[in-house]
Amino acid sequence: MSETTGQPFRLPEGGRIHRDEPLRFRFDDAEYTGFRGDTLASALLAGGVHRTGTSVRLGRPRGIFAAGSEEPNAVHQIEEPFPEPMLTATTVELYDGLVARSLPGRGRLADRPDPARYDARHAHCDLLVVGAGPAGLAAAATAARAGARVILADEQPELGGSLLAGRELPGWTREIGEELDAAPEVRVLRRTTVFGHYDDNYLLAVERRTNHLGAHAPAHLSRERIWRIRARHVILATGAHERSLAFAGNDRPGVMLAGAARTYAVRYAVVPGRRAVVLTTNDSAYAAALDLAAAGLEIAAVVDTRPQPGTWAQRAEQAGIEVLPGHAVVGTRGDTHVTSVTVAGYAEGRLTSSARQFTADLLLVSGGWNPVLQLYSQAGGRLRFDDALGCFVPDGCRQAVEAVGSANGTFGLGRCLAEGTAAAARAIAADPIPLPSFTDEPSSPAIQVFVVPGTDADGDGDHTHFVDLQRDVTVADLDRATGAGLGSVEHLKRYTTAGTAHDQGKTSGVLTSGVAAHLMGARIAELGTTTFRPPYTPVSFAALAGRDRGALHDPVRVTPLHDWHAAHGAVFENVGQWKRPWYYPQDGESMDAAVQRECRAAREGVAFMDASTLGKIDVQGPDAATFLDRLYTNMMSTLKTGMIRYGVMCRADGMVFDDGTVARIAEDRFLATTTTGNAAAVLEWMEEWLQTEWPELRVHLTSVTEQWATVALAGPLSRELLAGLAPRLAVDAESFPFMAWRDTKVAGIPARVCRISFSGELAYEINVLGWHAPALWDALYAAGRPLGLTPYGTETMHVLRAEKGYPIVGQDTDGTVTPQDLGMGWVVSKKKPDYMGKRSHARAESRRPDRKHLVGLLPDDPAVVLPEGTQLVAGSRLPEPPVPMLGHITSSYRSAALGRGFALGLVRGGRDRMGERLYAPVGGELVPVTVASPVLYDPEGARRDG
C-alpha cells in the first residue's frame, strides 16, 4: 500500500475526496494535510489522530466516535480563520488554513466582532423533504416531476445520504440530483440542517454557505443563512443513527461506531486503524466489516451477541473473517488508545465463557440503529418502541408530516426508495415514480442488548460502562439514580445529565432508556424517550441574529429634518424608535450650558424645534365629536371649527393614559395629537373602543403622524418671524387667538399654523407635508437668524414645560395618577354624561385627600438640582427603617428663567403642603426642599400672547 505523504491511514484510491486539492490544517499545534471533501474528523483520522480531547468530568481520553452530527466526543475550538467554540469535527468540512484545538469542556467565544455576514430567508413549499438519502431523493423527485414546489434540505455537501457511504446506485443518485437541481420549482439546499419543527409545519434550517471556504469565503455572501420554511407537507427522510452498547471500557479512543468506520473507509478513503474487532447485535456491522476488510483493514473477529447470526455471518466467514456468535466484548485496554479487546461468551445477559483477548487498535460497535426522529417528535409526533426492530419508530403526528426510510425503521435500500416515492405521491396526490430495482439482502433479526456485564477480573463496578460519552454518564450513575427511586427517563436525565450535552444524546438517548429499563427490570417501551426540543444541532447566535445587528438591529425612525439636526451638531435622544434632537451644543458647550442658552432664546427671543414625532390621528365622520367626548375627559363637541383644545385621556381605571391637543378641522373632522411614545397605542386604543364597544358610531380613524411635519416656534419674537414669512396670515392676537389654527402659506409652503404653546411663551406649531419640512425649516432659519432664532431640543422643551408645571405623561405620571392628582381637575368635564374613567373618578379612593399630587419642589439651596427619582421624606433626621415615603421627584432641572434648580414631584397630599419643608435623601445627605405650586414661571400666563 503506497502511503499518501503525512496521511498514513489514507487509502491509495477511492473515496469521494478530491486528491488534487490538498489542504493544510493545524490541530493542537501540529501540521496536517487532508483533501477537499474531507471533514476535520476524516482528515485527522487519515493523519492517525483518534484522540480528540479529554472528557469533561472524568478527564478520560476520548476519540472520534461517529462520522456525522451525532458525534459525542470530537467537539473542537476553531481558532482560524475566526474563533468559534464547540464545533463538531465530523461536521466541519476541511478547508485550507483551518486551525483547531481540542477542548477540555467549554469553548471560547471570539474576542472580536465577527466580520462575516449572516442572513435569513423565508421560503414556502408544497413539500419539504428533510434528508437527501435514497428515500428523500425518491420523495423529492416524485413531487418535482408532478410540478410541486419542493424544498430538499440535507446537511451534507453532497446529495446521497447513506449512499455516500455505500457502493449502491451511484448513477441514480447523480441523475436524480441533476434533475432536482434543474427543476424550476425545486430548491435543493445542501449543507443545510433543519433544526426545528414547529406548529403548522413551520421549520427552521441553517445553511452553511461559505464556512467550507475558510478564509477564502466571498465577503458579500452570507456565511450562514437561517431558512424559515412553511411547508404544506413534510417528509422526514432523516435516516438513522447507530448506537453503542454499554460494556467496560467502551469509551477509549479507538472505539468507534461500525457504520462510521465504514463511512470513513468508503466515503473518505480513510481506515481508522490497522486491526479491528467488531462487536454487533445485528447484521449491519457485517457490511462494515466486509467493506473495511476490502479496504485492507485486518478484522481480528466479529463478535456477535446473537447465538445464530445468519447469512451475513456466513459471508464474513467466506471472506476469511472469524465470527464469534454468542459472544460480547467485556473490556478494552490501552492508555490513550485501544491496544486490545477482551471478549467472552455471552447469552441472555450473562457471560458464559472465560475471556479471550485480541490485539487490536480499533473496536467497531453496533448496538442497533435509532431512526432520527428529533424533528418528528418536535412536530408533536408520537414514538413507539418496536420490539422487533429494537428501536423507537413514528406512531402518528397531528401535523402533515411523515417519516420514511430508515427514519421510519425501514432499513433495506429497495424498501426505502419505495417508501419515499409513495409518501410523496400521497402528500401531493401525484403518481409514484419508477425506481431502480434493488433487492434487499435477507436479514436476520437483531437482538436488543444494552449492557454487557463486566468480568469479575476488571472489578470496575460498571464505572467504565459509559452510556453518555459527552457527559461522562455510566451504568453505575444510572444504577445510583434508579436506586434512588427515579423511575422516569426525564428524571434520570436531569439527575444524571445523560443526554443534556452539546450532542443532545443522539447516540446515548435510547441507550440510556435501554440501560435504565434493564436496571429497573422494566420494558423500554414503557420508559420511552425524553422530549426532543429544538435545535437538532447547535446553531450559532450569529446565524440566528442574521441581519438584525449593529445599525439594523432595530429600526431607527427619523423625521424629515434629521439630516439638518445631525449637520448642526445635535445630540440625539432615543424616544421609542425615534431619534430626537436632545440639545445642540455649540463650540464644546456642556449640555447644561447648551440647554440654558436654548431656554433663554425661547423665553427672551425666538427658538424652534422639530416636533414632527408627535402622533397625529385624523378623526372623521358624523359621530366624531361624540366619539371624542367619550374618550377625552373634557368636552370636545363644543369646540368650534378653527379652534384647538387640550385634552387628557384616561383608561377605564381613571388614570391618565395620554394627553394632546384636538383641533376641529370641520364639523365632522378633527385632528388629535398624541405624545410621541404613545402614538400607536392611542390609535389602537381608539380603534379598540370603536370596533368592539361602539360600532354604531360612524367614525373613521387614520394615522397621519408622518403626513405632517411639525415645527414649534416659541418666544416673544415668534410672531414677528412668522408674520414676515406668512404675509397672508393675520397674526395679531385678536385675529389669531391662542388655541386657534389657520391654513396659510409659510415661506410659500402650504401650512397649517396652530397657536399652541408648550412653554407658556407666545408660540406656534407650523405643520407642513413631510416632504416640505426641510424647505420650511431652512426658510425659518434664514429669516430667523437676524432675530437670534435658536434650534432647541427635547431637554429644553422639558425644562420650559416644567417651569410652567405642564406634566409629561409617562414621566410625571406612571399609570397611578388621575388628572385631579395632577391638579388638572379643570380638564375633567362635570357636565358630560360619561367619559372614559368617569366612574373611577367617582370612587372614594380617587377622592382621598392624601393621594399623591403633582407639586413644585424648590431646593433651599438654589444651586441644587436633585436627581429625578429621589424619594421625599418628612423629617430632617431619618428614622429607623422602614422610612415613611411621602413621594418622589419626577422631573428636575436647572431653570435659566428662575435662576435656580427646581423640580416637580408627586407628593402625598401635596396640594395641602404648600410651603412645607420636606427632605430629599441624596447620597447620605438630607437635602431640604420646599413644596410649591407646580407653576413656577409666569403663573398669570401673561406671556402667552406675546
Binding site: 455576514r117 442572513d119 435569513a120 430567508r121 423565508h122 421560503a123 414556502h124 414546489r149 466571498p218 465577503a219 458579500h220 455572501l221 452570507s222 424559515r228 412553511r230 441581519r547 438584525d548 445599525a551 439594523l552 432595530d554 429600526p555 431607527v556 425612525r557 427619523v558 423625521t559 424629515p560 434629521h562 439630516d563 425615534w578 414625532t613 385624523d618 372623521q620 365622520g621 358624523p622 360612524r698 373613521h700 387614520t702 394615522s703 397621519v704 403622524t705 408622518e706 403626513q707 405632517w708 410659500g748 409652503i749 402650504p750 407635508l769 413631510g770 416632504w771 416640505h772 419640512a773 426641510p774 424647505a775
Partner: protein, 203 residues
C-alpha cells in the same frame, strides 16, 4: 426636486438613498432594481363597501374598488389597494394628490366615509428585477411566489422590522411597490441595500 403642485422645493424621505439605490441596481447587472418612487398621491378611503359611497368612488375612479381581500386594481392612472373590509389606499401619480383627494371627497358626498390625504405619510420603493422576490424573501414572511402572490395582489405585512404595504407592480416582469412609513424609510432603504449585497456582488 420640485413638487409640481406648489413649485416649492421638496425632499423625499429616500432622496439621500438615490445614489446608492442606483449603484446597487447597476452592480446587480439587472438582477434587482431599487428606486424610490417619491411623491405619489396616496389617499386613504374608508367607507361601507356595500353603500352608495363605494359606487360613487368607483365611478370617480373609473373602476370599482376591489372587495377581494389583499388585491389591487389599476386603471386610469391610479390604483386602489384593498387594505381592509372598509379601507382602501388609492394611489395616483405625483402631483395629483389634491385633485385626487378632491375627486374622491366629492364622490363620497355626505355619506359617512373618510377621505384622508396621506401622500407624505409613506413613500414608495420600487423593488423589481428577476431577483426581487428573493430579495424581499430575506425579510418578508409572506409567500411571494407568483402562484400565491401574483399580479393583482397586495398585502400589509412586515419587511424586516418595518410595516409595509406590498403590491405586485407589473403583470409580466417581477416587481413590487413597497410603501413604507416615511420615518422608517431610511431604515428600510439601508436594510434593502444590505440584503441586496448578495445580488450586487462584492462591496
Amino acid at each position: 426636486m420640485a413638487d409640481t403642485e406648489t413649485s416649492v422645493s421638496a425632499r423625499s424621505p429616500l432622496a439621500g438613498h438615490a445614489a446608492r439605490f442606483a449603484a446597487a441596481t447597476r452592480r446587480s447587472g439587472g438582477a434587482v432594481r431599487l428606486a424610490e418612487l417619491p411623491y405619489l398621491a396616496q389617499i386613504d378611503v374608508r367607507l361601507d363597501p356595500k353603500g352608495p359611497a363605494a359606487d360613487a368612488v368607483g365611478l370617480a375612479l373609473g373602476f370599482p374598488l376591489p372587495t377581494q381581500p389583499n388585491t389591487v386594481v389599476h386603471g386610469g392612472g391610479s390604483s386602489a389597494l384593498w387594505l381592509g373590509p372598509d379601507e382602501w389606499l388609492v394611489v395616483g401619480r405625483p402631483g395629483t394628490r389634491a385633485e385626487l383627494e378632491g375627486r374622491l371627497r366629492e364622490a363620497v358626498g355626505d355619506e359617512p366615509a373618510a377621505v384622508v390625504d396621506i401622500s407624505a405619510q409613506r413613500t414608495a420603493l420600487l423593488v423589481a428585477g428577476p431577483r426581487s422576490r428573493d430579495l424581499l424573501s430575506h425579510g418578508c414572511a409572506l409567500d411571494l411566489h407568483p402562484r400565491s402572490f401574483g399580479a393583482g395582489r397586495c398585502a400589509q405585512t412586515l419587511l424586516a422590522r418595518a410595516q409595509v404595504v406590498l403590491a405586485v407592480r407589473d403583470e409580466l416582469k417581477p416587481g413590487f411597490w413597497v410603501l413604507v412609513r416615511s420615518s422608517f424609510a431610511g431604515y428600510l432603504g439601508d436594510w434593502l441595500l444590505d440584503a441586496a449585497t448578495e445580488y450586487t456582488g462584492a462591496v
